[in-house]
């Protein structure tokens, strides 16, 4: 990922857990002001304790050029969030119905070069029955609750939402979902990277169709206008170039564009 990590570390408020984080450290008001004025790139700022948040708030007078983001690990005071949003593109706070990774796991996740592929926070949006997940670069990702399918043991429970396994698992009560599976479904860029990592994948159209069909939890018989037999023949590679209207019908049912099928 390309954003720099900036740790707000006021003198006299050292935190041993933070000492190993590979980040640029800013310790004074002057440091913060200089960084905001001179720094042109994208950065993820971390305020890990009350002193750090206080130092930051008293130093914010100038907007930076690049895309700045802020992670506050200390439970927030009642600062109006619109003030922080004037300076930071994304702001993630430790409370307000937002569940963050436990502190030690958070430090590890943020320190990872792959932090954007880990989820460091989550929040349930009851209005539309969806879950907002925050990636390690603080980019939000919205997942409909229905995506978390019921299992024989019982349904996912959004009232017990949590992030676990250093950002690799989303918990809804006893139900667990892999970050990997969420990103694979919702982020085409992640999907491309994940496919590159795979040792052996059936790269045919049929193989991709089988993966996306299973991913979406559909059976071969679930495609109106296309028989289960025909789906099977395509998946086995017996039909190498299915008709455009067949592909369109299949894509429609899968909820993806026809071109997207081969991506899976």
């Amino acid at each position: 990922m390309n954003e720099h990590l900036i740790l707000i570390a006021p003198r006299g408020h050292a935190d041993r857990a933070l000492s190993r984080v590979r980040a640029r450290r800013v310790r004074t008001k002057a440091d913060i002001k200089t960084t905001l004025e001179r720094f042109q790139g994208n950065a993820l700022w971390i305020a890990a304790n009350e002193a750090a948040l206080h130092l930051l708030l008293s130093s914010l007078t100038r907007q930076a050029q690049g895309d700045q983001r802020l992670l506050v690990l200390h439970a927030r005071r009642r600062e109006p969030s619109h003030y922080l949003h004037a300076f930071f593109r994304h702001v993630l706070f430790a409370d307000e119905g937002i569940y963050l990774l436990p502190f030690d796991e958070m430090i590890e996740a943020i320190d990872s070069p792959d932090r954007a592929d880990l989820f460091v926070g989550a929040s349930f949006a009851g209005e539309t029955d969806s879950v907002i997940l925050y990636r390690g670069d603080l980019e939000p990702l919205v997942v409909p609750l229905t995506w978390f399918r019921k299992r024989p043991d019982g349904p996912p429970d959004p009232s017990r939402l949590a992030v676990a396994d250093f950002g690799q698992t989303i918990r809804l009560g006893k139900y667990e979902a892999a970050a990997d599976a969420i990103l694979y479904d919702f982020d085409s860029d992640y999907r491309r990277r994940a496919k590159k990592r795979a040792i052996e994948t059936d790269r045919s159209f049929g193989g991709a169709l089988r993966r996306v069909r299973l991913q979406k939890g559909l059976r071969r018989g679930d495609f109106p206008g296309v028989t289960a037999k025909e789906i099977a023949r395509i998946e086995r590679g017996e039909v190498k170039r299915p008709h455009a209207h067949t592909v369109a019908a299949v894509a429609e049912r899968l909820g993806v564009s026809p071109e997207e099928i081969a991506d899976f």
Binding site: G167, E176, A177, A178, A181, A194, R197, A198
Partner: protein
Amino acid sequence: MAFALEVPEPWAGRGWKVKIRDRERVEPPHVTILYKTLAWRFGLRSEGFLDKVPEPGNVPIAVLDEIRANLPLLRTEWDRMYPENPV
């Protein structure tokens, strides 16, 4: 409910986990080995790693042995959780 295989010590205590979660990428069937921010998918059909990255050689042999010793159980759990795509 996610399934977790009991990992032998000292690896469990160091944070190594083996899981089949309720929502995984479905195809091919696999268990996930988790250690801090890293995850390895291990195929229940191929009995081998599914991805080149992270480096498979970094998974402790004892953890792999435990998975291999419990393949029938893991396959049963996978089939129970993912009946639409059994091993």
